[in-house]
């Protein structure tokens, strides 16, 4: 019985924390302190649920596990359907791991409206977990869109100078993409007669329709990812968001795009995916090279990391749309690794920002003298981001490139340029901030990491190295699902090629 509702319990546990926080009354200081603790305990509990799920997860199976299903909108057959497979497992873990980290990272830096802040993060956690668990398109959309509300408030209330602009841009960009996806979901419902993701996967629609639907989904996921040229909200959102907001944005929200490609685009629209794959490749290449070049000239640390995120996500889309085992697994791995490393990099920037309240690279320099611990930790993450073997960053990039080489040599070669550029901007950033002469007195006087910061970053380092050295922890669990996904993908393509364009037709009736 316990396992029966594991996913729901994990998804809605944070809301229980929200209810508790709502009832905290009293002095401002007292409310703030208690809200922090309640939020932390709730998210740690949720993380414990996540670990439990990880241990219970049957790594040999490609099927959805911990499945729950009940009626929701009865006349429409829309159901509350949750489940986890190898593809979503690690995104859920990433969400439940990063939330307590975010709450810890905001422990001191958020001073105003702490109660609301913690509520926003817990609500956000519910939506994030729900997005990755949902096996019904309407349920998925509900969670996927719901994320916008807390994130809008987090950027808008606790953000920097241009926070209003950034929060609007974030909200409207993503909403615009998503509403088109909503129409596509409804069209699928009208055609197939179901909103269940599993049913939709087994019933591909006609080729022409696939093209339109693919584009509608692409509009949503490409914005979320973000892919060039719809990435411009990301640097703004990152720069203005508070540290923890950037962490969750880079760590989890961007992954929803990639997850969407894997859950919807490839299995539901195989022919369209094949057709549009070259376009995705080229957009990815542009993202990788162009945004790397932009990152090279940034003077703002957060902006630099934000552009590097766009570049890293380029590898993900490239990997996924190669539709090879290595490419897809590499894409997933790259997302996980980027979720950890970029989150950590934003935390590192946050550490400096908390002390000096500026993100300008020029205002720092020579930090290795007064912050040796920080220098070490930061170096590990910079190298992880560069993709040094031994860190998780290496596995992801390597596998995606391996996938790309099987498909198109030119594309893969161009993407490899991005690896070099990535090393360039990250190492330059590191050199300018950490090494050199200490010209700024206030920067030279900053204290080193305190125990809280050290603890947070150390826990991420352990994961980055662990995944880098033992990638099979992830790959073993991911590969059955990916194999299933790709086998079905290729068989659907063969069927489509075999019968021309006539898999249209009567699926609707069959399902009903």
């Amino acid at each position: 019985m316990f396992e029966f509702s594991l996913l729901s319990a994990m998804t809605f546990l944070p809301l229980a924390g929200v209810v508790i926080i709502l009832f905290i009354r009293g002095e401002q200081e007292y409310v703030a302190r208690n809200s922090r603790y309640v939020a932390l305990f709730t998210s740690v509990f949720t993380f414990a649920f996540g670990l439990f799920m990880f241990l219970q997860f049957d790594s040999a199976s490609a099927e959805f596990q911990f499945v729950e299903k009940s009626n929701w909108f009865k006349p429409f057959g829309i159901s509350y359907h949750m489940g986890v497979d190898g593809i979503s497992l690690f995104f859920i873990l990433l969400s439940v791991f990063l939330t307590p980290i975010c709450i810890l990272a905001s422990w001191e830096s958020i001073k105003v409206r702490v109660k609301e802040y913690m509520i926003a993060f817990l609500v956000l956690e519910t939506f994030m977990i729900g997005t990755f668990c949902a096996l019904d398109t309407v349920l998925f959309y509900t969670f996927f869109e719901g994320v916008l509300i807390p994130m809008f408030l987090i950027i808008g209330i606790w953000g920097g100078q241009r926070r209003v602009y950034a929060s609007y841009k974030f909200f409207l960009y993503t909403l615009l993409g998503s509403v088109l996806m909503l129409l596509a979901l409804l069209t699928l419902y009208a055609q197939v007669g179901s909103t269940d993701i599993i049913v939709l996967m087994d019933n591909p629609v006609a080729r022409d329709l696939q093209m339109w639907l693919w584009l509608a989904f692409f509009a949503s996921f490409a914005v979320k990812m973000p892919m060039w040229p719809v990435h411009t909200w990301l640097p703004d959102a990152h720069v203005e968001a508070p540290t923890a907001g950037s962490v969750i944005l880079a760590g989890v929200l961007l992954k929803m795009g990639g997850y969407g490609f894997l859950r919807f685009s490839l299995p539901m629209f195989p022919e369209a995916s094949l057709f549009f794959a070259p376009m995705v490749y080229w957009l990815s290449i542009i993202a990788i090279i162009y945004t790397s070049l932009i990152a090279l000239v940034q003077e703002d640390m957060k902006k630099l990391i934000a552009y590097s995120s766009v570049a890293h996500m380029g590898f993900v889309t490239l990997g996924i749309f190669t539709a090879t085992t290595q490419g897809v697994e590499g894409g997933i791995f790259q997302m996980l690794s980027h979720g950890l490393i970029s989150a950590a990099l934003f935390l590192c920037v946050g550490v400096l920002y908390d002390r000096l309240h500026t993100r300008e690279i020029l205002r720092y320099g020579g930090l290795v003298k007064n912050m040796p611990k920080y220098a070490t930790v930061f170096m590990i993450f910079v190298l992880g981001s560069v993709g040094l073997p031994g860190t998780s960053g290496f596995i992801g990039e390597f596998l995606s490139l391996l996938g790309a080489f099987q498909v198109d040599m030119l594309i893969a070669a161009l993407a490899s340029i991005g690896v070099v550029l990535g090393a360039a901007y990250m190492l330059i950033l590191y050199r300018r901030v950490i090494f050199g002469v200490q010209v700024n007195k206030d920067a030279a006087g900053m204290p080193d990491l305190n125990n809280r910061e050290y603890g947070i970053l150390l826990s991420i380092i352990v994961l980055v190295l662990w995944l880098g050295l033992f990638p099979n922890v992830v790959l073993d669990r991911v590969s059955p699902s990916v194999d299933k996904l790709l086998t079905e993908y290729h068989s659907k393509l063969e069927v489509a090629a075999g019968f021309g364009n006539v898999i249209v037709g009567v699926e609707g009736e069959q399902v009903k």
Binding site: T142, E145, I149, G156, L175, L176, L186
Partner: protein
């Protein structure tokens, strides 16, 4: 044979009697009785609701086919009564604060309510017109209820002149229909039109006029001009009333008219409604961006919302009508909550209605600000709020009928609309603290606000009952087909 079964009319009769009774009480007791009469009216609406629920909801046509009671009418009447309860409960404190506490107010609201209930039950073009006029005349008076205010008088006159024009058009349309079909009875019109091979030109012409008249009542573009001015000029409690109920009644009437007598010429009215819907959505969302006054903003918002609701009518299916009803239910609840907040925008005894007056409200009046934010997110259709599900089912109905262009414009304009709803959230949450509004909300407003926010938040948990009842109500309109 004289048909004298008045049982289905019981709620209307009851309300008429109470309205007259309260009128006598008011005349005898003077204006101090406003409060008593108001709360007594609220009780009478509630009682009327219970009466309605205890009746048999089977279809019944009485008074020589003038009046029809069915599940659709029953549900719409329940909504109207709910709206009446909310709007009168919200008004009491406001009227006293504004110094316009006169007993005619609840009586006029009741009369308007009776008119609306007759509208959704009409089975004849003449009873339709009678209900509509009873409603409209009461509302004209209400709009100018604050007779010392120039703006309120202007709103009343404007509403009256334009309203009469639209009633004239409606009546002209009715006369054309009568001339070409030979009957004003819904059933007879339906049968005649269904039997015709070609629709006479006069019928189409008459239909256009009728639709123009009704489009005015639901303030669909291009007949929306009065809405912002009347919304702004009328006393805020009356604006709340305007926003909450007449739209629902007029939409109910429109649906009944289109799906019963004119069902067989759906291809004729389909294009008209299509255009009304598209134009309302676009104008509603773009024009609202520039507004500084929150009442005007809500006016454009209601125009846009009617545009979305009309999508379901265009779809022309049972699912579409059910989606419209659900949309109206959710719209009623959300609007009630929003107007509770707008009514409470008072400081030192005077009314504030600029959007910028909401500045920093999340600090000064956090409860109201959070309620408003939740309602705004719901209005812009962000899940998991109820507003999203209303839109979802509307678009589902549209997509099922392959109305892709309408759906695409619908979602795009909802993104534009999100911009101005977010602006209110922005002003409340992202801007520096402003002066606090008077914090002590009257009990009735607390209840309304709490219920509407809870409904918006919790709708997603168990939508089954409401969705099923809208389906049931819609099914009776399609039973004969």
């Amino acid at each position: 044979m004289i048909d004298f079964n008045l049982l289905p009319l019981l709620p209307e009769i009851f309300l008429s009697l109470t309205a007259m009774g309260f009128l006598i009480v008011g005349v005898c007791r003077g204006h101090e009785s406003m409060q008593v009469v108001s709360w007594a009216s609220v009780l009478s609406y509630a009682f009327c609701g219970i009466l309605l629920l205890s009746m048999s909801w089977d279809t019944e046509i009485v008074l020589n086919d003038m009046f029809k009671f069915d599940r659709f009418a029953g549900l719409m009447k329940l909504l109207i009564l709910l709206g009446l309860i909310i709007s009168v409960a919200l008004s009491v404190r406001y009227l006293k604060q504004e110094g316009i506490a006169r007993f005619e107010y609840p009586v006029l609201v009741t009369l308007a309510g009776i008119g609306m209930m007759l509208m959704v039950s009409s089975n004849n073009l003449l009873s339709l017109y009678m209900g509509l006029e009873l409603q409209s005349l009461s509302l004209y008076v209400l709009a100018s209820f604050n007779r010392n205010s120039l703006k309120s008088s202007e709103a009343g006159v404007k509403y009256f002149v334009l309203g009469s024009l639209s009633s004239g058009m409606l009546l002209f349309g009715i006369s054309l229909i009568y001339g070409f079909v030979g009957s004003v009875d819904f059933g007879a019109i339906g049968n005649t039109l269904a039997s015709l091979q070609n629709v006479p030109f006069g019928v189409t012409f008459g239909l256009v006029f009728i639709l123009a008249g009704l489009a005015f009542k639901i303030s669909a573009v291009p007949f929306h001009m009065w809405t912002p001015d009347v919304y702004q000029g009328a006393p805020t409690s009356v604006t709340a009333l305007f926003a909450i109920i007449p739209k629902i009644a007029a939409m109910g009437l429109l649906i009944r008219l289109l799906f019963e007598p004119f069902a067989s010429i759906a291809d004729q009215w389909g294009q008209i409604i299509y255009f009304l819907s598209l134009a309302s959505m676009i104008v509603g969302s773009f024009a609202a961006i520039m507004q500084e006054n929150i009442k005007r903003l809500m006016a454009y918002s209601s125009i846009g919302n009617m545009g979305y609701a009309l999508i379901g009518v265009v779809a022309g299916t049972q699912g579409g009508v059910a989606a419209v009803i659900l949309y109206l239910i959710i719209y009623l609840v959300m609007t009630s909550g929003v107007f509770t907040v707008i009514l409470s925008m008072r400081r030192d005894g005077s009314d504030y209605e600029k959007i910028s007056d909401l500045r920093g409200m999340s600090q000064s009046n956090p409860v109201m600000a959070y309620a408003m934010a939740i309602l705004m997110f719901s209005m812009s259709g962000i899940p998991p709020m109820a507003g999203f599900f209303g839109k979802l089912l509307i678009f589902e109905a549209a997509i099922a009928q392959e109305l892709y262009i309408l759906a695409v414009f619908g979602v795009l304009s909802s993104v534009v609309a999100a911009y101005y709803y977010l602006r209110i959230v922005k002003v409340m949450f992202f801007e520096e603290e402003g002066d606090a509004f008077d914090g002590d909300l009257p009990f009735a407003r607390r209840i309304v606000l709490f219920v509407s926010v809870m409904f918006v938040l919790a709708f997603a948990i168990k939508p089954g009952l409401i969705v099923a009842s809208t389906q049931g109500a819609a099914s009776v309109l399609f039973a004969g087909l």
